[in-house]
Amino acid sequence: MDEVKNFEDAVKQLEEIVELLEKGDIPLEESLELFQRGVALSGYCTRKLDETEKKIVRLIEENGELKEEACMQEVQE
């Protein structure tokens, strides 16, 4: 089993596992292992999607350094 590099990679591996399981001609023990890994991957993906919080920040350059300032700008529909 390969290590997961990022979200995209995890989705790809999950897809592969689903296809393998649906095809059906794997020994039962291996099927169970694959299933477990698949569930772990889908959990990882779901977590990754919610990882970052929404934030709007305005950047100011001060003495060659970038400073972040919370932005009051809101999304208008």
Binding site: I17, V18, L21, G38, C45, K54, L59, G64
Partner: protein, 400 residues
């Protein structure tokens, strides 16, 4: 008598005539550039000509600095400037103060020239274009902090993918100095690696208004940027140099927001979908195995394991019976045979013969007498009959 002038005095006189002439002190000329040379001092030297005449030109650095385009041989231009005398050379010259291409706009020409030059350097080549991150954590937007552009980007962005950090780097997006600001913004973002991807955006406008995105300094910064840059400048039909250099061009700022993040909802649905398929596939598999097991459990050899044994016992019994019967038959037949032989034996038995009236005659030496030879009258003979024996003496011997 005529006044004797020095060369310098004569030259100065001529120069004055030029400078007092209204037309020559502010003249508009059109012609073709030839023998163009940019001196290391920054001054431009060339000859302006038409099919019959030429005039030498010198455009000083202070004036030519403002040019957007690069003068080159063969280019037809319109010049506004003054004509004066170059004393040391003894010639008159045209000193352009303003110059623009005759025929196409100077900006457009400048655009074409820069585009060709950068293309020649290979800066637009696809090999240099970086792939955008699939799910960026933070997005930098270099644009005007006010106006519809940033609002559009935010709307689309947060609708598609709410969990993202947006960092806005405000810049001027038109006018003098805008190009420099944009370039500095890109460099600063790169230095601090503040974001995973950069959107360079500006709404629609004229070529002049969009000009900062056609400046070389911006192109260089985009090219240098290690963070991927999406260029979204102007309307769909506007193409700027930044569009060509960037890692990706978006036709509009909203389109940029769509290109930079995937739709979170679609991704979530995809994952849910896969999870469901996973569960179903496993359930299906287990169901299949159960069924198989069920079938096997039903098979008679498992349900009635003794059946076979019983069967074999029955068969064994049968065999025993048959064997018994066969043996009996063999026995009977042997018995019969024996009977027959015994019967035969009986018939041949001397005792049976005796019972029929025959007798066995023996000599006194117990020898069986079968013939008259050797028997004389007076001999003693033993005669055995079926129920006993008698001793007899021979009276006569006769031939038969």
């Amino acid at each position: 008598m005529q006044q004797k002038l020095t060369v310098t005095q004569l030259t100065k006189y001529i120069k004055q005539i030029f400078s007092f002439d209204n037309l020559l002190s502010n003249v508009c000329v059109t012609g073709e550039i030839s023998n163009y040379k940019l001196h290391s001092s920054g001054h431009m030297y060339f000859t302006l000509k038409d099919d019959k005449s030429v005039i030498k030109c010198v455009m000083f650095k202070t004036q030519n600095r403002r040019l957007h385009f690069k003068p080159e041989d063969g280019l037809k231009v319109i010049i506004r400037g003054y004509v004066s005398v170059y004393e040391a050379g003894g010639s008159y010259q045209l000193y352009p103060e303003f110059m623009e291409p005759d025929g196409i706009g100077d900006l457009y020409l400048a655009f074409e020239q820069l585009k060709q030059r950068l293309e020649g350097e290979g800066i637009f080549a696809p090999e240099h274009k970086k792939k955008l991150p699939y799910t960026p954590k933070s997005i930098g937007v270099v644009t005007s902090p006010t106006g519809a552009v940033i609002q559009d980007i935010m709307n689309v962005l947060f609708r598609r993918y709410p969990n993202v950090v947006l960092k806005i780097f405000p810049v001027m997006v038109q006018g003098d100095g805008a190009g420099k600001q944009i370039s500095k913004a890109l460099d600063a973002l790169n230095k601090t690696r503040a974001v995973d991807v950069i959107i360079l955006a500006r709404g629609g406008g004229s070529l002049e208004e969009l000009w900062p995105f056609n400046e070389e300094i911006v192109a260089r910064s985009i090219f240098k940027s290690e963070i991927p840059v999406i260029s979204a400048v102007g309307h769909e039909t506007d193409f700027s140099i930044s569009d060509f250099v960037a890692d990706l061009r978006a036709p509009t700022p909203s389109a940029a927001a769509e290109l930079v993040v995937p739709e979170k909802e679609a991704l979530q649905k995809n994952i849910m979908d896969k999870r469901l398929r996973l569960k179903r596939a496993l359930a299906g598999r287990i169901q299949k195995e159960r069924q198989l097991l069920g079938q096997l459990a039903k098979s008679p050899s498992l349900r009635h394991p003794l059946d076979r044994l019983n069967q074999l016992c029955i068969e064994l019994e049968q065999l025993n019976k048959h064997m018994g019967n066969s043996m009996k038959r063999v026995f009977e037949s042997a018995k019969n045979k024996l009977s027959v032989v015994c019967g035969k034996m009986d018939a041949l038995s001397p005792l049976m013969v005796l019972s029929r009236g025959y007798s066995i005659t023996r000599s006194s030496e117990k020898e069986i007498i079968k013939s008259i030879s050797g028997v004389k009258p007076g001999d003693m003979l033993e005669i055995t009959v079926t129920d006993g024996s008698m001793i007899c003496s021979v009276k006569e011997v006769n031939n038969s």
